[in-house]
Amino acid sequence: MNNRFVSLWFRHLTTDRLTLRRPELQQLPFVFAAPVRGRKVVTAANPIAEAQGITAGTTAADAMAIVPDLQVIDDIPGQGAKLLKALGEWCIRYSPLIAIDLPDGLILDVSGCAHLWGGERDYLKEIVTRLRSKGYDVRGAIADTVGTAWAVARFGRVKPIIGPGEQANALLSLSPAALRLEPVTLERLQKLGFYSIRSFIGIRRSMLRRRFGQDFLLRLDQALGNENEPLQLLHPVEPYQERLPCLEPIRTATGIEIAIKMLLEKLCRRLQSEGKGLRTAILRGYRVDGQMIQTDIGTNCASYHTDHLFKLFELKIALFEPDLGIELFTLEASKIEDIPPEQEALWSPEGCGLADARLAQLLDKLANKIGAGNIHRYLPQERYWPEQSLKPALSLKDKPSATWRTARPRPSLLLSKPERIEVTSLIPDYPPMLFIYKGEVHHIKKADGPERIEREWWLDEGPHRDYYQVEDQEGRRYWLFRSGHYSEEQSQWYIHGFFA
């Protein structure tokens, strides 16, 4: 299939925007001006000002002399780019591939899109009339290459739609400026009397290169389609994305359900055929009022099961506000993982292991209600400091890289922060005789220890801990530690856990 591109040219991009926001300016001449080398220079003029001979590049003082009632408004740097980005977002409804063409244009890759609007003529007409009805003075053109579309949008006089392979003919009568050349090159062409592309297109390439440089030839080739032109897309291609434009805006929960089902079916069919499953998916709805709403789901294991994924979305439909209606749904799988083909088990063990799909589906359900961040699984870590002796597992498939240590006793319950206790101890480096915790006196009858655990000095500084496992008169077992070496005043004792 041939590539087709639309180039849109906003002739008065920034001034149109201001007129929209301040309708009182509609009948007045006004310009944007910015200081350049100590002078105020016009950067954009509205159609009325332009009709009186003011163009970008005139100094503001000159312009005021020409049109005494001219309004000069300070230019905001970057507003054009920002505006183009917003317009580009709006144009997503026409094509998923949009690129910004600074300073005043947009380029849409519309290969295979136009037939949805009943042909290129209607398609272009729709884009241009919708934009014009919004108040933007826009010209557009469709051609096989970005260069030709750009040229015809700005300089074309005959027709805006250049059929496949006709770009050379269309370019012949245009001025060399239509080729997006450097000002220096343009000036040189002008001096040499090349007023249209026709006059130099037949000249040998080596001659052209010698006179005007490699860039000149590149631009010419890009316009003619001999050279590829990469586009910087507004939304880089998301490979796993499905779109569902709606004839009528969707407003009901049932409608949204059907839309989600249709999108999921398409997406899952593709995922399944490629042996992949989705981990996160984002559903977006483009509403009639121009707002975009979105919701997302996540799974613990890559999945392409429509039913399961739909159940996850089902919980979110209530939060998905259609307002006046949604005219376009997109479903994007933002995180994809390979699913190794599963062999049907001839004889499955009774237990439901960590790799079981039932467990993964259960966790997805829980995660959607209480948040995936609240579900943990821990793996051992080769560190002694108790708080850091384990690390959260990233997925259900993670295998422990080390074994769980059982040589040293570890308490069943660990306080997240050790709590201070009062102790009476007779001898340094022996367990205390009694300790007071929460107002209760515990007489220590038996004790094991000390187990000295040093801090990881390369990570943090501080005293080591001497841990003791102690048992009081009633048989309750605790994990105590003294922070640092024994000394009369500074020894501090803490309780850190409870043993079974």
Binding site: D356, L362, R377, R410, G475, F499, A500
Partner: protein
């Protein structure tokens, strides 16, 4: 005549048990090692799997002891390679300690919820998932209706549930098959050696459906339960000589 009566009564009792869902143990079902004296208290003398057990704890020490005992039970249940779920609000359990009780801590999935209401919801959802080895939840109060929902879930899925009740003031009637209270006991070492011995508990089976409540002393030695035989009433070990 007496013999005949006894036979009839035992047959009728078996029939009642069947109606109440206590099936006689299938051949080859291994019981938890060392728990035989406790199991005798249950109907058919088998530890009920696919039911809900509740553990009453009034202090953190008791909770720690209950966790130890529970971990010992789970080690028997998780032998087939199932995963376990631990649902709680506080999340104070220290996973490496489970390794000492034969439970692989990485098979345990921890669900930390914010509200207690969600604990029961999460537990019910988890109990519906067939094939899990055990689901443990820490809750304060639970109403009869809520416990019945859990019971209905386990009846179809045959998952074993453990409730760790941390508020002894809010004990009501529940559908749980057994109510336990585990209290730590002073440990003892052979030959009066100094130091802390194996975990030892006073296991109190307060309430059991169709069984007889009782209490036992158990110890966790060498990765299995060992009943503590009542030794001669011995003075507690002399205090560790200090200095």
């Amino acid at each position: 005549m007496e013999q005949l009566k006894r036979d009839i009564i035992s047959r009728l009792q078996k029939g009642i048990l069947l109606h109440q869902g206590f099936n006689p143990p299938a051949a080859g079902v291994a019981s938890v090692v060392g728990l035989e004296p406790v199991e005798a208290a249950f109907p058919n003398a088998v530890f009920p799997i696919g039911a809900i057990h509740e553990f009453i704890t009034s202090s953190r020490e008791q909770a720690a002891a209950s966790i130890g005992f529970m971990a010992g039970l789970i080690s028997g249940l998780a032998k087939k390679g199932g995963a376990c779920l631990w649902i709680s609000v506080s999340g104070k359990l220290f996973p490496p300690s489970l390794a000492a009780f034969n439970v692989e801590p990485d098979r345990m999935i921890f669900i930390d919820v914010e509200r207690e209401k969600d604990v029961l919801w999460a537990m019910e959802e988890a109990l519906k998932c067939e094939g899990l080895a055990a689901v443990i939840a820490e809750v304060g109060g639970i109403s009869f209706a809520q416990s019945r929902r859990l019971q209905l879930a386990v009846e179809s899925s045959k998952v074993t549930g453990f409730l760790l009740r941390n508020d002894p003031r809010r004990l009501g009637t529940t559908t749980c098959v057994a109510r336990w209270q585990i209290t730590p006991l002073p440990s003892e070492l052979e030959d009066e050696l100094p130091g802390v011995g194996f975990p030892r508990w006073h296991v109190d089976l307060l309430r059991v459906r169709n069984g007889s409540p009782g209490n036992w002393k158990l110890e966790w030695v060498d990765r299995r339960f060992v009943p503590v035989e009542e030794k001669m009433e011995r003075m507690s070990l002399p205090e560790r000589q200090i200095a």
